[in-house]
């Protein structure tokens, strides 16, 4: 059963940035887009399982640090080779000044 899990205080993650979040033996990537909206996806690239939190957020996209593959952080869609498999996404919200994700 999915539940809302606390990730961090809002000011620990800048807009247009990403951080790694480990929970229950899994790695997630938690983002804030340019306008500050939070998003969450699986934390490892679907190409060669590199940690996406070392990558670059550009608007609503995350660029993987290894081969510059890109995903949409809202939908998880694979946008740029060499990634071709989409990322799983999770609901994210801001609650009482903290970022939470539903996993």
């Amino acid at each position: 059963m999915a539940e809302w899990v606390d990730v961090c205080a809002l000011d620990e993650l800048d807009p247009e940035d990403v951080m790694r979040f480990d929970h229950g033996g899994r790695v997630y990537a938690v983002y804030r887009s340019e306008n500050g909206t939070p998003y969450a996806t699986d934390g490892l690239c679907t190409h060669e399982h590199v940690c996406l939190a070392d990558g670059l957020v550009l608007g609503e996209e995350i660029e993987c640090p290894k081969h510059n593959g890109r995903f949409n952080i809202r939908t998880g869609a694979a946008l740029r080779a060499p990634v071709s498999v989409p990322l799983a996404t999770y609901p994210a919200r801001i609650s009482a000044g903290r970022i939470e994700i539903l996993i």
């Binding site: 640090p65 290894k66 081969h67 510059n68 080779a81």
Partner: protein
């Protein structure tokens, strides 16, 4: 009787003995060494901009157009020679760095601009735009890992004649055209099938067919001009399209061959297998700062225009850069010659006291 393979001999194919060995020893897909850079600094360095690449592309197109005009306008006189010299380098060498940076998608902030220049440059450098995207991704995953990296320029023992001849561009061009024709005929090699996902095979074949069609039209134009009695002037279409990849590629090879030659194979620290070389500003413009090659491999997200800054940030953790192209060759040539006798040899640069030790053994996750 079972033949025991000579450990000095390497199998550079992507489906052979060394491929199995790389997978078994954890060298394939390994966790590579990275210099620690604070996230805030790295974010600043990774920032994408359109300005520098638009400026450089406008200069590039102007030089291509201007030199082509001069070459044709002064045809038949010695004045044409410097124009064709410039055109050759602009086409046959600049295309490589533009292909490379736009392939990474870092040159421009706007993606369609990266894609347009990537396709133009892929055609000029005679590389299949689809297959090379994947081969280059593998080159970054498994840099100079024997049996995994499809882009190893200096194999061991070195084929010295071939390396020397590569400066003339002919052998490389023959190989590239062969690959193009094979792809256009609908065939991919075992290596290509290994690193290109099956869903992309059709696209690779289509791209090869488009390239072959353009070359066929160029050859037809030259033949038509010749038949029309234009004599030597009928070579102009070939000097404009395709030919510069032979007569103008020397700068691409001069800078490209020192990226990794003479350095280590089968290591997981780019400081051991890549070379950073200080160069004059013209070469750096042609090469789009890929002379900061250790930095590029360690942090492929950093665009070319930010590499000099990245170099300053990480240089305490790097072996000293070669002060010139000449110095890099003085290091690489004796190492390659020695590899002809002793394929296990590689040149190892000492690290400054401020650097972390080299990471040589894969850590199993």
């Amino acid at each position: 009787m079972v033949a025991i393979p000579d450990p000095q001999l390497r199998d550079y194919s992507l489906t052979g003995r060394d491929t199995i060995r790389a997978k078994e020893t954890g060298l394939a897909n390994a966790e590579w060494y990275h210099t620690e850079v604070p996230r805030k600094v790295m974010k600043e360095l990774m920032k994408r901009r359109d300005g520098p690449a638009i400026r450089d592309t406008l200069i590039w197109f102007a030089l291509l157009g201007g030199s082509a005009w001069g070459g044709i306008a002064f045809w038949g006189t010695w004045w044409a020679v410097p124009f064709w010299f410039v055109y050759g380098v602009m086409y046959g060498s600049v295309c490589d760095s533009r292909w490379h940076e736009c392939g990474h998608g870092t040159a421009f902030r706007t993606q369609w601009m990266n894609d347009v220049i990537y396709h133009i440059a892929s055609f000029m450098v005679v590389r299949n735009p689809v297959s090379w995207r994947w081969s280059h991704a593998r080159h970054h995953t498994d840099t100079i890992i024997v049996g995994r990296d499809p882009e190893i320029a200096c194999m061991r023992p070195p084929r010295l004649f071939r390396l020397l001849m590569s400066y003339a561009g002919v052998l490389d061009m023959i190989d590239s055209i062969r690959t193009l024709l094979r792809n256009a005929a609908g065939r991919l090699s075992a290596g290509e099938k290994d690193y290109i996902p099956e869903s992309e095979w059709g696209k690779a074949i289509l791209a090869a067919r488009v390239h072959v069609a353009i070359y066929a039209m160029t050859a037809a134009a030259a033949a038509g001009m010749f038949a029309g009695g234009m004599g030597w002037a009928s070579t102009i279409p070939l000097l404009l399209i395709g030919g510069p990849r032979i007569y103008g590629c020397w700068h691409m090879l001069m800078t490209g061959l020192i990226q990794h030659c003479g350095l280590a194979e089968n290591v997981i620290d780019h400081r051991l297998n890549s070379r950073t070389v200080y160069m004059n500003p013209i070469s750096r413009w042609i090469y789009w700062n890929m002379n900061y090659h250790v930095e590029h491999h360690m942090f492929p997200m950093v665009p070319y225009h930010a590499l000099p800054k990245l170099h300053e940030v990480v240089k305490h953790d790097m072996p000293p850069a070669n002060p010139s192209i000449w110095d890099a060759y003085r290091e690489a040539i004796p190492a390659v010659l020695r590899q002809a006798r002793d394929p296990g040899y590689s040149f190892r640069k000492p690290l400054p006291p401020t650097a972390q030790p080299y990471k040589e053994v894969p850590t199993r996750g």
